[in-house]
């Protein structure tokens, strides 16, 4: 039976009551996203600790995508006719990093640098097995659920 699956493994905890992005932390306290198993730290090939990233942060910068990205690689369910512009940005997650992300709000007039944002896991496309793929996005805090990426 078709189900909801993350677009890629190790992107975020799923299924989960409160999903979170997954990062990798090295012994010097630095965090990387997406998660990777190891990294050179001070010349030593270190295994990274799998950590859940904060679910809330502030909008550091953003822009908009007006036309459907070239496909492949883009794998959205939309077509050039049904494509809805979307916004992307970096959200600063306190104590962790700035993560590049799609935003659920596409209108630049409703976005501003410094805005409080929170993680959402939203439907995106369909995989080869007919499952609905899910991706991470950030929404302005307080925005209604389910209005992300034209997917309501």
């Amino acid at each position: 039976m078709a189900q909801q699956v993350p677009l890629a493994e190790d992107l975020f905890t799923w299924p989960a009551e409160e999903p979170a992005l997954i990062g990798g932390r090295s012994s010097d306290g630095k965090v990387v996203f997406p998660y990777r198993s190891h990294k050179l730290v001070g010349g030593v090939n270190e295994e990274l600790e799998r950590v859940e990233l904060p679910r809330r942060g502030t909008l550091w910068t953003f822009t908009g995508q007006r036309f459907r990205p070239p496909s492949p690689p883009y794998a959205g369910d939309d077509t050039p006719k049904t494509f809805e512009p979307f916004a992307v940005g970096y959200v600063e997650l306190p104590g962790a990093l700035r993560v590049e992300t799609r935003l659920t709000e596409a209108d630049p007039d409703k976005l501003h640098i410094g805005q409080e944002m929170e993680l959402r896991i939203v439907p995106f496309g369909t995989d080869a097995d007919g499952n609905q793929t899910m991706i991470y996005a950030f929404a302005p805090v307080g925005a209604e659920e389910g209005h992300g990426d034209g997917s309501e």
Partner: protein, 383 residues
């Protein structure tokens, strides 16, 4: 100024634009023939060849069109910084004693529309492309948006930059976009990537450029106006720099590779930004040119707002920038773009730029490139 052991003795350009039915190599051939004629040397005199292209895997195959002389020919590629690399490698071949005369060539022919590829070519996971994030244009929108917020740059300054590019393009008979546009038209065109509008972006296109270099002590044999290579630097990004195609960034920030390439180039040349008479700065979009003015040491962050209102970067201003219309008016055939910059600087320094000639006797030219995956290069030339 530090002494130089390499001189440019000739340059050639196949104008950038769209040429249905003409291959990138054929455009390269035209550019080389023009550069050889400018230098007054025969093809058979070339002892080393470095050719850059994004779309042509073996651009050194150009020898098949120019003549099979056995010349050592090598392909080079460093993204948008390719032109600086082919020039530096040709210069190094001369410095090492491998050649007395060498040529740097750039040629490309891109399909229409935004650059597209599989994320793995940039070391990124597949999902990044599937999700619609593998687009360099996002970075340009996001970087200038943050920069405007931090330093009080307004959309009018972006529009001024684009309007200047099209004005300079109109004065350049070999530019692609030769229709002047008003700041209003530029501001009112639709957003491609907020806050950048359609006319604030350059487009990928087609074209070629070539530069002939010689041992400095031989240069006067070929030209009465040799242009000396004073510096060439290239740096990749450092941890913390805000760069293209980054799924995440650390909280601790670092300057762009442009800052390091620029500082190292001034040091190599033994000059400072105040000594530069004419500059070429990577203007993938209008915001990039504005930011690059500061990153290359020509002003402090935020001063662009006043400088551009005063016309400082116009051909008649105190630091003319992108006098041939830059990427905005010429488009970007990636492999050739950096050598177009060199061609324009040499044309200006020799006083041959016609309607767009910088007044007085410009002595020092500065060229800057920036692109994926976070690479910046600077070249400094002088009479």
């Amino acid at each position: 100024m530090a002494p130089s052991d390499v001189a440019i003795i000739g340059t050639g350009l196949h104008p950038f634009g769209r040429y249905p039915g003409k291959s990138a190599l054929e455009m390269g051939e035209d550019a080389v023939i023009e550069a050889l004629a400018d230098a007054g040397v025969e093809w058979s005199a070339i002892q080393a060849l470095y050719a850059g292209s994004m779309e042509v895997k073996n651009p050194e195959a150009i020898v098949g069109l120019l003549g099979l002389t056995g010349v050592p020919g090598r392909a080079v590629f460093t993204g948008c910084a390719t032109g600086a690399t082919s020039l530096a490698m040709a210069a190094n071949a001369i410095r090492l004693g491998d050649a007395d005369i060498a040529i740097a060539i750039g040629l490309d022919k891109h399909p229409r529309g935004a650059f597209s590829d599989h994320p793995s070519v940039s070391g990124l996971p597949g999902w990044y492309g599937e999700a619609g994030l593998f687009l360099t244009t996002h970075f340009f929108g996001m970087k200038i948006n943050r920069y405007m917020h931090d330093f009080g740059i307004t959309p009018v300054t972006l529009a001024r930059t684009a309007a200047k590019a099209f004005r300079n393009g109109a004065a350049n008979p070999r530019a692609w976009r030769r229709t002047p546009m008003t700041e209003e038209q530029i501001l009112e065109s639709q957003y491609l990537n907020y806050p950048l509008t359609q006319y604030m972006y350059c487009s990928p296109d087609e074209g070629a450029a070539a530069v002939v270099l010689a041992r400095a002590d031989l240069a006067s044999k070929y030209t009465d106006k040799p242009i000396y290579l004073r510096a060439s630097t290239l740096f990749s990004r450092r941890e913390g720099a805000f760069e293209l195609l980054s799924p995440s960034l650390p909280l601790e920030t670092a300057p762009s590779p442009t800052v390091f390439a620029s500082q190292a180039a001034y040091e190599q040349a033994g000059i400072g930004p105040e000594d530069v008479d004419v500059a070429q700065l990577q203007d993938t979009d209008a915001g990039s040119e504005v930011i690059h003015l500061a990153e290359n040491g020509f002003c402090k962050d935020g001063e662009q707002e006043t400088l551009l209102a005063e016309g400082a970067t116009e051909i008649g201003g105190k630091l003319p920038v992108n006098t041939d219309g830059g990427l905005l008016a010429n488009g970007e055939p990636v492999g050739a773009s950096g050598l177009r910059q060199i061609h324009e600087l040499v044309t200006q320094l020799r006083g041959r730029a016609g309607d767009r000639q910088v007044a007085g006797t410009p002595r020092v030219g500065y060229a800057h490139l920036y692109g994926a995956p976070g690479t910046a290069a600077v070249t400094i030339l002088s009479t």
